[in-house]
């Protein structure tokens, strides 16, 4: 039907409507996107500043709970694929970061860039590849 790894096209684009304007990343190879993504966040720095500790806790809960709607609370998969360390072992890291940030056209995976910074997406991918942490008990 289409290239599932294409980073930027949109589901309606395949139905013949014009794709959304405004992304200069479209059409770049994946590595290029990742470099652009890094550069966009960090400016002159090579690495974006990692999220603060409280933000990291928010992200853990967000991944477990909101991403968990499709990927499972335990990230063992659902409508979306499993995101356990084992399941990701043979996946390219930069592709996962780009998927979190830009979504995956042709699939239900949405772009999360409205809710995540690039540094957030990078940090989440790092945690996923390392084995995602449990939610800190957040009950008041």
């Amino acid at each position: 039907m289409h290239d599932k790894n294409a980073p930027q096209s949109h589901r309606l684009a395949q139905a013949g409507t014009s794709p959304k304007a405004g992304s200069s990343l479209r059409g770049l190879p994946r590595l290029g996107i990742w470099l652009a993504l890094l550069a966009g966040t960090a400016g002159l720095h090579a690495q974006p500043v990692p999220p603060t500790a409280p933000r990291q806790q928010e992200l853990v809960r967000m991944v477990r709970q909101d991403c968990g709607s499709c990927h499972g609370l335990r990230l063992t998969g659902g409508l979306g694929p499993a995101l356990t360390r084992e399941a990701l072992a043979d996946k390219p890291f930069d592709s996962i970061v780009a998927t979190i940030y830009h979504g995956r056209p042709g699939t239900p995976m949405a772009p999360w860039k409205a809710m995540l910074s690039e540094a957030d997406a990078l940090w989440i991918a790092q945690q996923l590849f390392a084995g995602f942490p449990e939610s800190v008990k957040d009950r008041p």
């Binding site: 949109h10 809960r61 709970q65 909101d66 709607s69 063992t76 998969g77 409508l79 809710m115």
Partner: protein, 402 residues
């Protein structure tokens, strides 16, 4: 008696261990419980802790918490036709039967690797699970949870499709949609030993969930992969899928869908049905005689549940992240929003009491269930429950497609 029953089963079924052991700590031993009916009982899924909370909708209280149900992310529940037993379908593939009166797990099977929900036949004899892994449906004896039929959703050289949108139909039939195969299947389990499946291919790209109308006539699957929905008139001699609301996005760029809408909990009011748009912050209104769009109502976010109060006068809508602190109420006589409520953080589900005088709303991140008067919109009670998600009342036992 119940304790002994529980212990006697321990030797044969290790899965029962956690359920029995943990429930022993619930308030009051079964022998101490007064006689009561189940018509005003329900359950709330506390998904992070694998716990099922049993609630009383007359007293608006939490009666007990049953633990040991495993991974309950996206758990859903159907009820036996006597309203006594809740069948809980867990994400991890477990099917658990919980007795609401004794507040115990009475049976539990690991039936799949990844499950998304289930249905129960009108005669109450068959419980059917819909699974992602392995893709397909499985039918169980509702009394014992013994497997009686296994229908893999095989397509294209034996690949298995993830199954969504399972509903019960009259005559021990079940309809469901194949997300990966773009198909709707209808399986007749009137003889579970010889299932007969009617396959409707090419119904549209990526059906993500489905519903059946209260009369059992129309099965409607929402499509993620294209604008529109697939509808099957089950009363036709040879059912076929046809497209309704085609092109409702009008070629506009869809908004991100952070969570798939759910179609179960179908909203019908008079001759109109209310459906969540995909990638648009709108509720679509369709005429159920002509199946033409007759309106659309702008709402506060991507709708997830669009649910009619049982009398059809109101339709309540909740939303996906990041707009899920809101709930909106549509007055069906004017097709306009009459109220926007903020009952808590991360509203995941709503359930009306049997006649709809109250609605129960789960706010996951506030660890709270709110009971709200649907006429005055006043909060009548709040219950403290850990990360609550789905709320299910026994009145579902009497409804087709629930």
């Amino acid at each position: 008696m119940n304790r002994r029953h529980c212990l006697s089963l321990l030797g044969t079924t290790p899965l029962l261990l956690s359920g029995c052991a943990s429930v022993a700590g619930a308030s009051g031993a079964p022998a101490d419980l007064p006689l009561r009916g189940t018509g005003d009982l329900g359950v709330v899924v506390a998904r992070a802790t694998g716990t099922l909370a049993i609630v009383d909708t007359s007293q608006r209280t939490l009666l007990a918490q049953v633990t040991g149900l495993g991974d309950l992310s996206h758990a859903s529940v159907v009820f036996s036709r006597d309203g006594r037993y809740a069948y809980v379908f867990g994400r991890d593939g477990a099917l658990t039967k919980v007795d609401l009166l004794t507040r115990r797990i009475t049976a539990r099977v690991m039936q799949a690797g990844n499950s998304i929900g289930g249905a129960i036949s009108a005669d109450g004899s068959l419980v059917v699970a819909q699974n992602y892994t392995p893709g397909g449906i499985k039918a169980f004896n509702a009394a014992t949870l013994e497997l009686v039929a296994d229908i893999p959703a095989a397509y294209e050289n034996g690949k298995l499709s993830r199954v969504v949108g399972l509903v019960d139909l009259p005559g021990r039939r079940f309809a469901y949609s194949l997300f990966d195969a773009n198909a709707i299947w209808i399986t007749d389990l009137s003889d579970p030993a010889r299932p007969v499946t009617t396959q409707l291919p090419n119904i549209g790209r990526q059906p993500y969930d489905a519903l059946v109308t209260p009369n059992g006539r129309h099965y409607i699957a929402g499509l993620f992969g294209e604008d529109g929905l697939a509808m099957v008139d089950l009363w036709e001699e040879k059912p076929r899928a046809r497209r309704i609301l085609a092109g409702y996005g009008r070629g506009q760029e869809p908004l991100p869908v952070y969570k798939m809408p759910h179609l179960r909990g179908w909203a019908v009011a008079g001759r109109r049905a209310y459906l969540p748009a995909i990638g648009r912050h709108e509720v679509l209104v369709v005429d159920t005689d002509t199946w033409q769009e007759v309106g659309r109502i702008p709402v506060a976010g991507q709708p997830v549940f669009v649910m009619a109060r049982p009398d059809g006068r109101q339709v309540w809508v909740n939303f996906s992240v990041p707009d899920y602190h809101r709930v909106q109420v549509i007055d069906t006589t004017t097709q306009s929003i009459v109220r926007t409520l903020e009952p808590g953080k991360a509203v995941l589900h709503m359930e009306f009491t049997p006649r709809g005088e109250s609605v129960w709303i789960s706010s996951r991140d506030d660890h709270r269930v709110s009971v709200i008067d649907t006429q005055s919109f006043a909060t009548q009670a709040t219950l403290s429950i850990d990360s609550p998600s789905g709320i299910f009342f026994t009145s579902r036992a009497a409804r087709l497609g629930f």
